[in-house]
């Protein structure tokens, strides 16, 4: 018996999530097809939960919103008011690659001198229930090539894994925050009396060496990423191939918006009569004015330089600064790029063809 795992049948999933609603603002993938998104759940939305795919917009938006107020200014006095960020949030159904993306954001926002207050507060207040990928959610995902494991999410508070029979999830509680969730579910099991929704320890726990295999569709997209990829790509900084790679790029920014690791942001303001709001929003390094200075000078004047900076940030610069690759192999940018740009081609090129 392992008291750190329980099993939840799929029939009882809504009951299990309902039990979390009083304690947290709960977000989970909901909706169908292209409209699948991390949605705020309430009683009326419990039926819309859909764990079969992975939303196009990754769960990073719940820690680092697309747009958020940093502070508001009184136009008369100039005095700033900083919004409170205090609500307990729970994200249900985070895929292992997206959790690694959040670990990238942790490094960017919390390390190297300054702590980003808004991110830090949200992260502190958020509990993450990850969902192992027994089926690859995207045809283009390649997390294993990037050092990921579709069935493990070490940093998650709770890890759900679909059982082999496919009719239930095993829940492993991995952190103190995860044990808070277990407390809520334990009390639920008692409430249910003779028909317990959860069975404690009834399935074997995921332990090192006895991991369950992927039982569903397991993608075969693989890429060879040598350990010295950063050095190899940096040595190719002046290679004319960067121009070839960037030719088709439209500069639309889709790759950044769907990326679980992209964290660059813009700061701007909305000027109203009674209130001025300083906000930040997602930005994309492929936009032409991203690094253009007042007076017109742009250190990355064409899409060649911009694309090179984008891929080098992901595959070399971030590694140099934080010791991890800024790509987790989720495959979204490959699936969604309207011009069919493919980061695995850059990795293959850097790893071998150079």
């Amino acid at each position: 018996m392992d008291n750190k795992t329980i099993t939840i049948t799929k029939d009882d999933l809504a009951t299990a999530i309902r039990a979390l609603l009083p304690a947290y603002n709960v977000y989970a993938p909901a909706g169908e097809g292209e409209r699948l998104a991390f949605a705020a759940l309430d009683e009326s939305r419990l039926g819309a939960i859909n764990l079969t795919g992975s939303p196009v917009i990754p769960p990073k938006e719940l820690l680092f919103p697309r747009s958020e107020s940093l502070y508001t200014l009184d136009p008369e006095t100039g005095a700033a008011t900083v919004p409170e960020i205090a609500e307990s949030t729970l994200i249900f159904g985070v895929r292992p690659c997206d959790l690694r993306g959040i670990e990238n954001l942790d490094a960017a926002f919390l390390e190297k001198g300054y702590v980003d207050s808004n991110y830090a507060k949200r992260r502190e207040n958020t509990t993450i229930i990850a969902l192992a990928c027994v089926t690859s959610p995207y045809e283009t995902c390649f997390c294993e090539s990037m050092g990921g494991d579709p069935l493990a999410a070490k940093g998650a508070d709770v890890l759900l894994t679909e059982t082999k029979a496919g009719d239930a999830f095993t829940a492993a509680f991995q952190t103190p925050k995860g044990l808070q969730v277990k407390l809520l579910w334990d009390s639920l099991a008692m409430d249910c009396g003779s028909a317990p929704a959860m069975t404690e320890g009834s399935k074997p726990a995921m332990t090192e060496g006895s991991k369950p295999a992927m039982t569903g569709q397991h993608n075969t997209l693989r890429v060879t990423k040598p350990d010295d990829l950063p050095q190899r790509l940096m040595a190719a900084f002046d290679d004319p191939h960067w121009a070839v790679l960037s030719e088709a790029c439209l500069g639309c920014g889709t790759c950044s918006y769907v990326c679980p690791t992209c964290y660059c942001f813009d700061i701007d303001r909305e000027s109203g009569a009674k209130e001025i709001t300083e906000y930040r929003c997602w930005d994309c390094c492929m936009f032409s004015d991203y690094s253009r200075m007042a007076g017109g000078h742009n250190p990355r004047p064409t899409k060649k330089e911009r694309l090179r900076n984008r891929y080098l940030h992901k595959l070399a610069y971030f590694d140099e600064r934080y010791g991890m690759t800024l790509c987790v192999g989720c495959g979204r940018c490959i699936a969604k790029c309207p011009a069919s740009l493919d980061i695995t081609e850059v990795i293959e090129w850097g790893g071998g063809a150079l």
Partner: protein, 295 residues
Amino acid sequence: MTKNNGNGNAINSSRTPAVAHDCSCESNPLVPTLCEIIGITEETGDVKTFRLRGTDGQKPFSPMPGQLAMISLPRTGEAMFSITSQGEDWIESSIKRVGELTEDLHDLEVGDILGVRGPYGNHFPVEELKGKNLLFVGGGIGLAPIRSLILYVLDHREDYLRLDVLYGSRSFQDLVFKADLFENWPGLCGTHITVDAEESCWDGHVGFVPNYLEEKAFSPDNCVAVICGPPIMIKFCLDKLAAMGFSKENIITTLEMRMKCGIGKCGRCNIGSKYVCLDGPVFTLAELDELPDEK
């Protein structure tokens, strides 16, 4: 971590990481404090120096030479500027009119309020420069960041050896800090001023900064050159300094890039894996050579 230039002298601009955060924003480093403009100096037709004091009567913060401040107007936005000078209860920034925000800043008057946050970035290596001859090379508004170091060195005069300022601009009218160049600094340090083209109001040296630099033939012996100006001027001056025998470790410059956050998060001021707002703006030429050529 220092680099050796072969003469036993080592300069490295990247000291301890900028963990210390000496500003009054309390918790959120992106929130500015309010400052009042207590003085404006018209340097040239398009450069004004703004003297800023906290609306609480206090100095907003005490920067090291070379550090940066994010200055904002509530309805226009914010941008990063070097801090050129400081006093007991004020800091000063010299701002050239080049865009939307600087246009609005130039319309301000004494008594107006603006937002300031900082100080950001590393600073000139004032400790490592002790006991050295210093050559300051500036062009146009590029003298503004260097001036913070010149003023610091003049305040600690006994710690440094021979000082020379070589500065030029397009015309006499475009020379910034004229009071320093022609009244305050001569006698305290060598001043070598040039303008690009002859004009009736100017009887000093005429010619571009790189050529004047070559003409003056400063000795590289125990000397560190600190340079800032337009990219093209820096490029030619670096060639001249190399020809004069200055090693890359003994040439220091300060960079500008577009910035939004100032705290190494927003992503846009990177050169390779370095952020100019955090790891810079001050770099030795040796350090810059290690970075991708995207300046």
